[in-house]
């Protein structure tokens, strides 16, 4: 649908604020640990697309979720991953980009057997 605006050229003048070029070589990545809603929402990071997926796990994801009592029990080889709505098995040695991640990709993961404080999804 065309834009409803007084200025006929409105669409041409729009400033897309979150263009990847504004992030100094990084792309936004969102991460969410499913069934652990102690973390109120997915968390956001600006990361280089060349970062290996394994480094995302060990340097970004693991430390940021470490506060949860379940965190120490995570077996990363059994984790189930979903990137942008598709279930995938990421290659830990390959980069985020090679794993199909783009600017603003959402990585959700499930830890089978771990579903929050006393199994309450918290």
């Amino acid at each position: 649908m065309p834009v409803i605006a007084l200025d006929k050229d409105y669409a041409k003048k729009v400033e897309f604020r979150d263009n990847v070029n504004n992030f100094h070589g990084n792309q936004l990545t969102y991460v969410h640990w499913e069934e652990h809603n102690m973390f109120c929402s997915a968390i956001a990071f600006p990361l280089p697309p060349a970062m290996p997926f394994g480094a995302l796990v060990s340097e970004v994801i693991a430390p940021h979720y470490a506060a949860h009592p379940d965190a120490a029990k995570i077996d990363w080889s059994k984790v189930e991953w979903m990137i942008d709505g598709k279930k995938v098995t990421p290659d830990f040695d390959k980069s985020l980009a090679e794993n199909g991640m783009k600017h603003k990709s959402l990585v959700r993961f499930w830890t089978p057997g771990l579903n929050g404080y006393k199994g309450t999804y918290s």
Partner: protein
Amino acid sequence: MAVKKMGLKQKYAHLTRGLDWETSYQKMDDVFPYDQFEGIKITDWSKWEDPFRLTMDAYWKFQAEKERKLYAVIDAFAQNNGQLNVSDARYINVLKLFLTGVSPLEYQAHRGFAFTGRHMRGVGPRIAAQMQSLDELRHFQTQAHTISHYNKFFDGIAEFQHMHDRVWYLSVPKSFFDDARAAGPFEFMIAIGFAFEYVLTNLLFVPFMSGAAYNGDMSTVTFGFSAQSDESRHMTLGIEVIKFLLEQHPDNLPIVQKWVDKWFWRGFKVLGLVAMMMDYMLPKKVMSWKEAWEIYFTEAGGSLFTDLERYGLKVPKYADVATEMAEHISHQNWAVFYQYTHAAAFHTWTPDKEHLDWLSEKYPNTFDKYYRPRWEMWAKMDEEGKRFYNMALPQLCQTCQIPMAYTEPGDPTQIAFRCTEWNGEMYHFCSDGCKDIFDDEPEKYAQSWLPVHQIFQGNCGGPTVPDVLNWYRLNVGADNMDYVGSPDEQVWNSWKGKAPAEAAE
């Protein structure tokens, strides 16, 4: 010679009609450039029924009288050290939230109605919008004056206007009004005049003002009384606007319905802050958010929309989703502030046992199952010296700008994720309601100033959390963090002759 006095009706007609003319040097469309592009068709402006017959001279007289009463009470409150009589210093955080989050919206409403008043071609709505514009300015000023007394004793109040423009969670109410003001004058009237002032206003004003009354804050209660007659005028204007637009032309219905759907959802998301305030922040509770929602939306809104059925207008889309969310929204929001307390300009706390029991009683279907364990877990972690802080920044919804903390309709265990790909880029949303709003006007919402992304882009004072808080003018260690251990608590306890909470146990 004796001058014959005019009757009220006659006087009103003289003071509100025939004030303008058909321009001849300039085209009328050039003089009023904003009142057609939205697609609303007005066939006869004179059909506008003034919802309140108030002339300007009477307006000044009434308002001045109210002002005198309000300032007399505020003075008395200050002289009697009224701050000593509030239920608990935790209550002051309600005022901080109000002053940083809501009062600047009054100012935005003032500007929005001034603009709308200028750009409506018909004189009736122009007069009404002008009066509302003045009301809103007065509300902003009197709120700032009323709450300024607390600024002498408590933290987190002094920089409210600066914070409104910068602090991450205040982008939620700010962007709500920016959105309305960036729309055309008719959408603004539906957004603020109808959806906000008519459908949802009781859910904003009643909780804050009854909250003040229940918690001994007589100055804010007096402000509430002084604003009340204005508010009822604003509501009448809101309902008149919708009737006028729907009676003018059948083509207006789908446009108006779309705006009602949109602004109901936008307003509902902003009111999540009030939900949290009612359920978690008032030391003496008025009622639960869920109860307020049932009274003021389900029942009152229900009969309103039954009344509007004759125009073909339907209950806003996703009203059923909002009603289901009334079970969850306050708990989910307070959890956001609890874990980001280091970046909030008011204090947070863990609900104590009595408070948890109250929540269990008010939310029998959900609280014990999903939320009570979370608070107990956090309390336990705190006792072990591991008070939980979320040190990453949250993903925000592109439309409402709130952290994406809301769960799937029908499944409170799972966060709801919605996504649209537009112009080669992904956009994320907390709900179908927010996604629909984006999909309808992607060019507008692709411009959202999302605080988290702005921090990453380097536009918020620097790369570290202290840099950003400094840019917010947030006084670290005083304005933020838990109430227990705060300077606010210290001053309160010194007045009340109490030892700090921990030592007392």
